[in-house]
Subunit: 380 residues, 4 copies
Amino acid sequence: MNRKLRMGMVGGGPGAFIGGVHRAAARLDGKIDLVCGAFSTKPENNKAMAAELFLPEEKCYNSYMEMFEKESQLPEGERMDFVAVTTPNSTHFPIAMAALEHGFHVVCEKPMTFTLDEALKLRDKVRETGLIFALMHNYSAYPMIRQMKKMIADGKIGTLRKIVATYDLGWLASPNAGKQATWRVDPKFSGAAACVGDIGTHAEQLIEFTTGLKITELAADLATFVDGRTLDDDATIMLRFNNGAKGVIECSEVACGEENQFKLRVYGSEGSFEWSQQEPENLIMRTNDSAMKTLRRGWAELDPSVQALVRLPAGHPEGFFEAFANIYNDFAMAVAAQKDGKDYAGMFPTEEAGVRGMNFIETVVSSARQNGAWQPLKDL
Amino acid sequence: MNRKLRMGMVGGGPGAFIGGVHRAAARLDGKIDLVCGAFSTKPENNKAMAAELFLPEEKCYNSYMEMFEKESQLPEGERMDFVAVTTPNSTHFPIAMAALEHGFHVVCEKPMTFTLDEALKLRDKVRETGLIFALMHNYSAYPMIRQMKKMIADGKIGTLRKIVATYDLGWLASPNAGKQATWRVDPKFSGAAACVGDIGTHAEQLIEFTTGLKITELAADLATFVDGRTLDDDATIMLRFNNGAKGVIECSEVACGEENQFKLRVYGSEGSFEWSQQEPENLIMRTNDSAMKTLRRGWAELDPSVQALVRLPAGHPEGFFEAFANIYNDFAMAVAAQKDGKDYAGMFPTEEAGVRGMNFIETVVSSARQNGAWQPLKDL
Amino acid sequence: MNRKLRMGMVGGGPGAFIGGVHRAAARLDGKIDLVCGAFSTKPENNKAMAAELFLPEEKCYNSYMEMFEKESQLPEGERMDFVAVTTPNSTHFPIAMAALEHGFHVVCEKPMTFTLDEALKLRDKVRETGLIFALMHNYSAYPMIRQMKKMIADGKIGTLRKIVATYDLGWLASPNAGKQATWRVDPKFSGAAACVGDIGTHAEQLIEFTTGLKITELAADLATFVDGRTLDDDATIMLRFNNGAKGVIECSEVACGEENQFKLRVYGSEGSFEWSQQEPENLIMRTNDSAMKTLRRGWAELDPSVQALVRLPAGHPEGFFEAFANIYNDFAMAVAAQKDGKDYAGMFPTEEAGVRGMNFIETVVSSARQNGAWQPLKDL
Amino acid sequence: MNRKLRMGMVGGGPGAFIGGVHRAAARLDGKIDLVCGAFSTKPENNKAMAAELFLPEEKCYNSYMEMFEKESQLPEGERMDFVAVTTPNSTHFPIAMAALEHGFHVVCEKPMTFTLDEALKLRDKVRETGLIFALMHNYSAYPMIRQMKKMIADGKIGTLRKIVATYDLGWLASPNAGKQATWRVDPKFSGAAACVGDIGTHAEQLIEFTTGLKITELAADLATFVDGRTLDDDATIMLRFNNGAKGVIECSEVACGEENQFKLRVYGSEGSFEWSQQEPENLIMRTNDSAMKTLRRGWAELDPSVQALVRLPAGHPEGFFEAFANIYNDFAMAVAAQKDGKDYAGMFPTEEAGVRGMNFIETVVSSARQNGAWQPLKDL
């Protein structure tokens, strides 16, 4: 590729949060240009976005379908190469399906779809088209998470036994938590679960990504603490894994005062790892017979695959944008490789992670409805 | 009381761990003298303890029954006032029963007994004799735990919603973990559970003590990761409380590299607390609309009841011994008050906490045997 | 401004570090486009940069003078608006002077020049041309530093008494520390001081920026621990301030194992602040009679001027790039305001900070040569 | 020794702070009995102490001289073996001299005396009598400080280059800071320096103890920030060492909100250590080419000499009392060895450290009076 990749966006209009994050992350490394968007269905919003983003007004479409149709008629190199889907959960499926049908690669916010059934259909479509699909589980692209994954795969902590993930936020502790909150607790936009879909799936994905294990069954207890809600705002989920390991996900969006307190601990027969999203540059490694180590980006023994994700000298903090950008970079390299007819094995989450996440959500809800009876995840 | 309280000990001979901790804690404030012991059933061990502790050899008995009988014949002020029971779980009951029957107050290691049935009988005996019984859940006597308890009771974080306790150690990660470990995983000495009895009960007691809530039902998943064991070395226990709150206890003794990583988080409708045993002087308080606070012993608004537990200026670290000594002090004041015919309301855990702990253990084991079905705690 | 600002760069060719940081930071918010560069004096390097950055080869000049001349002949909106100077210290002055003389605004790496004399001349040129000059002291643009500055100015910690800054790195602990290190310890490229120029000036600038105080005199002890060096690789500098406060800067580049351990503590008569660059999102506030507070971006009482610097929800870590980008944004708004004929009061460091920094370096060296005698900073 | 050591105390009456710490620390390990005291010169205070400490009233003397005289006439085994001097600085010398003259070993609070001249006389007396003298620099007995000392001596971080100690408290930030504060800022009781004598000497002693280096010269800037004081309440002291290393001590008692924030960093050519008194169980070790390690008491490679100082399993926090008690234990073993005619090499600070500390104080004051001119420490 001797040009930047051309990106379009669906969603991310005025007042949205995650769309702006996608745009900044895509910009960071100078390999991607935002060239068009269907930021909103309201013309005045798209006009405002055109001005804010220095885009031609005619490139800010009032419907994603219009964007897909018009862009797909442009010649290669002038049309959008891929689309980022940053709308509420309920519309991921139709948008992503339409994008694929028009020949566009897709970066999609999580959870992938509204239902597991949609997820399976979308996966089929990705397979059928051969296009590239990335699911934005950005936490899996923090350098020290990748280092942990590598060291676990290399057997550095032995056979895995226990995995504990906790993800706590306080933002939904009160009934009125603002625009971003409203759709997340509304079953029409969010799906079968709120807290579990919003953050529980991050925990599920990070656990499976990092450990290489599969959750085989789970037992869940969901709670709704704030009056007037119909979906969960808090969850505890016990886990059993395919190698005999056990685990638990504790997540809550009514955890007053917490920001994005996402922590992961993985215990093996020879050692353990601890990582916290709010201090993402520290990977703590413990064993019974050596001193506790804090592995950081500056570590001389950092794996080369992780070193490739590093933009700054150690001690100059990298954070959320960089992890997000790592997904974009990896995706961009996969798209470029396909255009160039080359093989490329990315580590970004794909439609498989999306199916897995929806499988997890529906199994959690099913277990909770049966008062926490253990339920197997479907083999899909 | 115009004299020091006279203490005897059962257990705590050469190579034991917790007996020495009891002795040091009892000594710290100069209100208690160790005057006799049945440290071991082997005469040579008791001789060694006599030398080490500068006790007369005749005060180092070869059986607790002999000690109780001989001491009980001495006049008040010359005989032992109370006994500390620091033996493995399986012998707590007969020793404590005999002590009470001979008129001695008791400080007892946790869990209180081997079975719930014994616990109920012991509670009856305490009630019948009117003697004072303290159960050594020392964590509940850390100053900042007491501060948390007070502030929760005062409604500072609103209605409680979610409680998360984790207690992780690595010491049993391998089959051969030394003398202290051996009896703890042996059902003949430890009881129905190992990890749950050893540390799970600490979590259960600290949660109920600190929050004032009662666990009404639980769902447990126990694991035994090390070959050759018959008892649990790892557990996850989901909790429901009498006010509708939910919670989880995650505890493990195969968590490689962890020392005594005991953490408690309590979330209410208005704020939350976080505390960690390895940094016991920091009580973190969060709300959604003010800055995170780290409450410490030097805080000007520390509750007077907590201030009374403080021995050193803030910034000079206090730790485990001081918390342990707080239980001894409180117990000693209760004993002295009884001798002086006065009322005294201590905060040390009693036979009630002991019954509660055994109730918890047996319910956990019952739930685990039914593949994690929710089980109510008995109303006792 | 209804278009992106057009940026050129001098320096930042293959193997350089800080040039890439400037480019990424300038890109982050989508307000600035890199349109040309004199990345290197070697044609093959510029060719490589053209490919890497997707720039036309003719926009990658082999000399900064050629770039300034050619770009200055293009019409407004097509030519470069400003230049980022990211070369070694010794060339900042001629490049920045030439840029100003050709009518370009300047973003310049620190320290501003090679000598104080050059700094004064450059300041005169900035004043004379009325162009905008930003000095890249990026640490001063971390949100919590800005919050500290605001609260100090508002008197929240009373009259300032003591300021302690420490900046420790280990990268120069051995003689051979790589390409980035070589020029920094070479007096031909670095100037009168190495460690003091590289990191001591960051401390000096951050102190004066944050507190609003001026250093009036200083006493310095410089050290050169690694054989073969002629410049300092370690320094301790005692400070006295214009309000009677005292302070110290301790900085070292031979502090084995440290990454970019830059910490600032400010003590006033009523309270104090502590901040650490490696955990830049935590601003610790202490007073004698209230609990320690950790102020973070999510704080409800964050100053609106600081809120404007925030790109992500609290708990999603922001870091070095974002602080760097804050300088670029602020500079870009100043440039745009000038083009639009509007007033704009930015907070980015300017030529005044540059003169101050060179004044500091030369006074430190002078004091050190007189065995640490107190030396006043010149009134310039 | 087949009995406990018998301790007397001078000072430590009602309202005193450090006396109670000495008593608790001496009690902790059950090797020492407090048998008498001259706690106060007021009879009613001594009566109160007799009741509080369960001592016979006749053993609570109204003057130290009376105590020394009466106790010295008792037979060995019935009389006091040693005395702890816990009075304000101004009286250490006459009390300690009298104790030695009456044949008693001495534990003395720091700084050893009021003047350097007194310190030299006291050292002569110790040498002359052959009695044992311990100076209570308790920080030097934290286990991880001992581990650091051992590893430095073993060359684990190479040749030492830079030492940074900071000790900050807020308690004297206001004019009226209570009884404990009053004498510490009064030159009649405190001596030539306040902050430097109270905490600066702790830093000086810990640096020399831990590194094995000697300070050869220093340059000091003292400050008095609170009106009405004649002594320093804040200091910065640059240091040069006998091996060419450099350093700085920054200490303040007007550092609002700080508790006992005593930190030490030692940088060598191969690595570095960092330790903080408020988290005394963590010894951080860094090198340029391996991961940061947090060495703790549970470390498998802990030196056996340090292991001997450990009372609790790792993860059960030990603190200030235990460090203090380590000095008492070590002193007690030295006394017992002397009684038994055996050799014993303790690590507790002695009269040599006392002379060193007074030498430091007077050199600091001398340098400050000459506007921070470098002053050599005397060779004594």
